[in-house]
């Protein structure tokens, strides 16, 4: 019997939601690490019992927790994130040079092939790798040091590396996204990097087509078609058909093309999901209606999915790491809100129901499909 485990990071702890393949009844465990901000929890594709969690607070800094039993027990592992060499400066909000300072881990991406290797995307933006299950962390400094680093500037949420996508067909190829520096790709396992922003157009920066400076909110790929990428930029939903070498807009008929999260159906590489948010100054859904939009055509033609979602007086946000899909035959879609709800659809978005309604604000949602 298949099972699903939803890993939820919130402002006040982590939660594990578990169900069988019907996805109707859920067991809720947590809060784990009560009172701490949990930016991300993710399981290893190699061993689903191995979980990694990013735990932080403004008082006590960053911790990394590791579980070997699917979240029943946890142990703190290495939390020493030290930039390679002299970190130098990036641009501050006012355009002045500001020293690189480690603040927190936004995203943990376990290796597709090695249970003890895991990547961390951090603020101020950089990528680290551990090859000993989180005990020690080494910066892949070719990203921060590839040349444009001094031009990077933080978005409103900080200068965070929030997206890490490993190409399943070539683990040496990794995509990352940084707010508000843009998107980058390595083809040599993280040694060298280059911006992949051709075709992005951001009117809120001095040169709308600049190589860096784009506020990329999230990138998603289908694992069987890793050359095709979907991006929710600050404004604009974008697509690349050549591994990021160039992008074109697919916002189409969306009510607004601002938003944070984006994901792809587990079995249909051209079925894409976004949650449109009114604007960068109004971080809630248009018209107070929480609507997921689905394109079955790889973009441009979008359908509102509303069945089971609040269609009046709803003013929550859905953050960039707060949507995920399972890989059961009938693909499940999940997302969490800043109002503490985690919604699930067991039928690819046609129907939705809340798993939980009253968690702390949800920062991240990941799903494990267990067979």
């Amino acid at each position: 019997m298949s099972k699903v485990r939803v890993l939820v990071g919130t402002r006040k702890g982590a939660f594990v939601l578990a169900s069988d393949g019907k996805r109707e009844k859920w067991d809720v465990s947590g809060p784990h690490f009560a009172g701490w901000e949990i930016y991300h929890v993710k399981g290893s594709p190699v061993d689903p019992n191995r979980l990694y969690a990013s735990q932080s607070s403004s008082w006590f800094g960053q911790l990394i927790q590791r579980s070997n039993d699917a979240g029943k027990t946890w142990e703190p592992v290495g939390n020493k994130f030290v930039y390679d060499g002299i970190p130098g400066t990036h641009q501050w909000y006012d355009g002045t040079a500001h020293p690189w300072e480690f603040k927190r881990v936004w995203h943990l991406e376990p290796s597709l092939t090695d249970v003890d290797t895991v990547y961390a995307g951090v603020e101020d933006a950089a990528m680290f790798r551990s090859t000993d299950a989180g005990a020690n962390w080494v910066e892949l400094s070719g990203l921060r040091g590839h040349g444009t680093g001094p031009q990077w500037a933080p978005g409103a949420g900080g200068m965070c590396l929030h997206t890490i996508l490993i190409d399943p067909s070539d683990p040496q190829r990794i995509f990352v996204a940084i707010s508000a520096a843009g998107a980058f790709r390595t083809d040599d396992g993280g040694q060298t990097w280059r911006p992949i922003t051709k075709g992005l157009n951001s009117v809120h920066i001095p040169d709308p087509a600049a190589e860096v400076g784009h506020c990329v909110h999230r990138i998603a790929m289908h694992p069987e078609r890793p050359g095709v990428l979907f991006m929710q930029k600050h404004w604009d939903v974008m697509r690349s058909d050549n591994a990021g070498d160039s992008w074109h807009e697919i916002s189409g008929n969306l009510p607004t093309d601002f938003g944070f999260t984006i994901d792809v159906h587990a079995h249909e590489p051209d079925t894409v999901y976004v949650v449109p948010i009114t604007s960068d100054s109004l971080h809630y859904p248009p018209d107070g209606k929480l609507r997921v939009y689905r394109s079955r055509t790889g973009g441009n033609e979008w359908q509102a999915l509303t069945n089971g979602l609040p269609q009046s007086d709803c003013y929550v946000n859905v953050l960039r790491d707060a949507m995920a899909v399972d890989s059961l035959d009938s693909c499940g879609i999940y997302f969490g809100t800043t109002g503490g709800q985690v919604y699930a659809s067991p039928d690819a978005g046609d129907n939705w129901a809340p798993i939980v309604r009253d968690l702390p604000p949800v920062l991240s949602v990941e799903v494990q499909t267990l067979t």
């Binding site: 009560a34 009172g35 701490w36 607070s57 403004s58 008082w59 006590f60 800094g61 960053q62 911790l63 703190p76 939390n79 020493k80 030290v82």
Partner: protein, 98 residues
């Protein structure tokens, strides 16, 4: 024996309840007490002071004998009452909010 009071979240992290009692070799200073805390409870490394700079985290304070020791030198000997174990060295998570 040096008595140390940790904030609630760090007690949970270190899996301790109540005060912590530590042997602190040599001169008893803020630095040597923190060294002893981190040696006994490695999971607390980086939570009270920065790994690299060894600077106190901004929202953490050090109190003892009704004095705020946060801004003094970490190498100044702590009060005799702390050294003798009559008073605890308090690591405090600063109150923030409104």
């Amino acid at each position: 024996m040096i008595r140390v009071v940790l904030p609630a979240h760090l007690r949970t992290l270190a899996k301790v309840t109540g005060e912590v009692q530590l042997d602190v070799p040599g001169e008893v200073t803020t630095r040597s007490v923190l060294d002893a805390i981190e040696a006994r409870y490695p999971m607390l490394s980086g939570t009270i002071r920065d790994h690299v700079t060894q600077q106190r985290r901004p929202f953490v304070r050090f109190f003892a004998c009704e004095e705020d020791l946060s801004h003094g030198s970490v190498d100044t000997p702590l009060p005799d009452a702390v050294t003798a174990g009559r008073e605890p060295f308090i690591v405090l998570g600063a109150i923030a909010g409104g």
